[in-house]
Symmetry: C2
Subunit: 373 residues, 2 copies
């Protein structure tokens, strides 16, 4: 049997060591360090926004963005924010912490992104923003969302944690919004273990974000007119992220190659695979997903257990936000059905796409998957 | 004139580079990495608690500790937590975020720590905990606090961010409490730019802390029965902190030497200096503080401006919690006078104690300070 194959593996073959050495030699460890500034400049340039603000992680990026927007745009408590139900908990949780109400929209069955046709029906006079999450490496369909946002005067936040370097109609994801949030978690295209960034072209919003992420310190040090958090990123984290940004195109190339191979080798299994492309983008395969067909008796959990017994690590798909026990308890749910997200959780999971994945291992994985059916 | 003298400077002459190289070579960047585990073990051993849980920073350490305690001990909303008024905003802010009420106690005029004689008078039937902050490198007087806590059945949290390796009657600070929080911010004895840890000997509390710091993920990944935060520390941060922990005794020695020299050279200025020792501890001089005498016309702000014009960086003392504009706005303040904290802010500031500070620079600094008067 093969060695254990992790679902993700970073590739740290660039300037990571050199830049870390530089942090130690220069004595710059903290959030005022030069790599933090470099990452803010280089990553915002790369994505096509004017400014960047590094933070501790992708969840923190959403927390501070909503906080800053709520303050700057004077959103009242219980204002509503539209987010995809098929998503990690971070965006919905940020809403709760900011006394905003998350409103969940079902996924679209092919791309697994927010179903843009279902957005307008949940808009009320309390709606203030849409958080667009580019799910699993394929962008959401931004044009209809931008149109809706204009029509109802809503802000757009792009959560592009899963889509570093991805494009929509040739233009970078993260550049279509009032603010874009990214994670540099271990499994992301650009990774420093834990880290995140907010991008925006609005200087006022940037200043608010920088204020709230630094405990609301002001010019009069230690005097506070508001409460924030410490969400500062260290120079060490930024050094590694800078090194990874330099080779992002190579990383994406590897991911696309892995995705294309899986598409080819798994094309005959009774399951839907990650959507390879749409009219506006090619999949970057941040992850490679498999959704087992309805008429096949096994569900994702069983499939994953069987693969684990073959030393193949996998991950479940997101559990829909509109089914989360905590949101039931908080009484923020309605009775709308969102069947696509539910089916994705029940039947979906994803398989190894580590940057060191060899062809041999990939073929072993696909053989084991075929054996499931 | 001398080169600019920063108020803090780290000394990165140990295994920092080696351990960072190891992170890159092994591919371990994230919070599951071996240096995170090592730091949790080594630092809890060092301080005399059973368990450690690494987090993003010292503020986060308090946030997650209060959250975990509130849940575990079933504290009601608006339960009260006693904290020193002379303090950074983190502890008070954590109370607010956890729907707890911070109750502020004035400082003691010699040690600048919480005035233990004033604690009992603020205890009500809603009081649940005391956050003891070891201010500026000298421990709080723990015995009377422990006695009060026993008498009223209160939990003790030690915020030992400013007192790594310090002792109270020969026993390590951080070991006297139900939970102790530490920061590894750039200016701390052990530093990794941004970082923190919670120590406890209560396994149930540890588990709650680990749950809340990791977005309340459970065994059923992506299904949440509660809301947390992402407060995870990366392996990179932990690697540098591990290297610094190895030489903590040397660091403390340097700090004590700097403090002793300042005591000697500044003994005749019309000001109170950091308290060199008490019956229970010697000062570690995390910072070296100066509080200008009342009968001297200049205040801290003027003194600091003059020193900055001589290329000497300083920092103001904490602004008292009971005077913070944000807490006035939140209507959580009472009219009790806390004159010691107020005076400390008005007349107090601290001067360079960087780990690279040469005798020559130290003498230059003391000359410029004497020139103020």
């Amino acid at each position: 049997m093969n060695d254990f194959i992790p679902v993700f593996e970073p590739l740290l073959n660039g300037n990571e060591k050199k830049y870390l050495d530089d942090c130690i030699e220069s004595g710059w460890l903290g959030s005022n360090g030069p790599y933090v500034k470099k990452l803010e400049k280089d990553f915002s340039d790369f994505c096509g926004q004017k400014y960047g603000s590094c933070v501790t992680n992708g969840s923190a990026a959403i927390d501070v963005t909503l906080r800053a927007m709520k303050e700057l745009y004077k959103w009242e408590d219980n204002s509503e924010v539209i987010i995809p139900s098929f998503n990690i908990i971070s965006a919905a949780q940020s809403c709760i912490y900011n006394n905003l109400k998350p409103v969940f929209v079902d996924a679209e069955p092919i791309t697994w992104n927010i179903d843009t046709k279902r957005i307008e029906e949940v808009i009320t006079n309390k709606t203030k923003a849409i958080i667009v999450v580019h799910i699993y490496g394929l962008p959401s369909d931004l044009n209809p969302i931008i149109e809706i946002a204009k029509k109802y005067n809503l802000k757009i936040i792009e959560d592009a944690a899963q889509a570093h370097g991805q494009t929509y109609n040739g233009k970078k994801c993260g550049s279509f919004s009032d603010a874009a949030t990214f994670s540099f978690f271990t499994n992301k295209h650009i990774s420093c273990g834990e880290g995140g960034i907010v991008l925006t072209s609005d200087e006022e919003l940037l200043n608010k974000i920088n204020y709230f992420k630094n405990l609301c310190f002001s010019n009069e040090k230690f005097i506070h007119t508001n409460l924030g958090w410490n969400l500062r990123m260290s120079n060490l984290q930024a050094a590694v992220a800078c090194a990874q940004l330099e080779k992002i195109n190579k990383t994406i190339e590897i991911k696309k190659r892995i995705g294309a191979k899986y598409q080819e080798l798994l094309k005959d299994i009774p399951a839907k695979l990650s959507c390879p492309k749409t009219s506006y983008a090619q999949n970057h395969y941040w992850i490679f997903g498999i959704v087992i067909n309805d008429d096949v008796k096994i569900n994702a959990k069983t499939a994953r257990q069987k693969l684990l017994s073959k030393n193949i690590e996998t991950r479940p798909f997101f559990y829909p936000m509109h089914k989360q026990p905590i949101f039931e308890k908080l009484e923020i749910l309605d009775n709308t059905e969102r069947p696509v997200s539910e089916k994705l959780y029940e039947k979906g999971f994803y398989i190894p796409t580590g940057l060191n994945l060899t062809d041999e291992k990939l073929e072993y994985i696909t053989t084991q998957i075929k054996n499931l059916f």
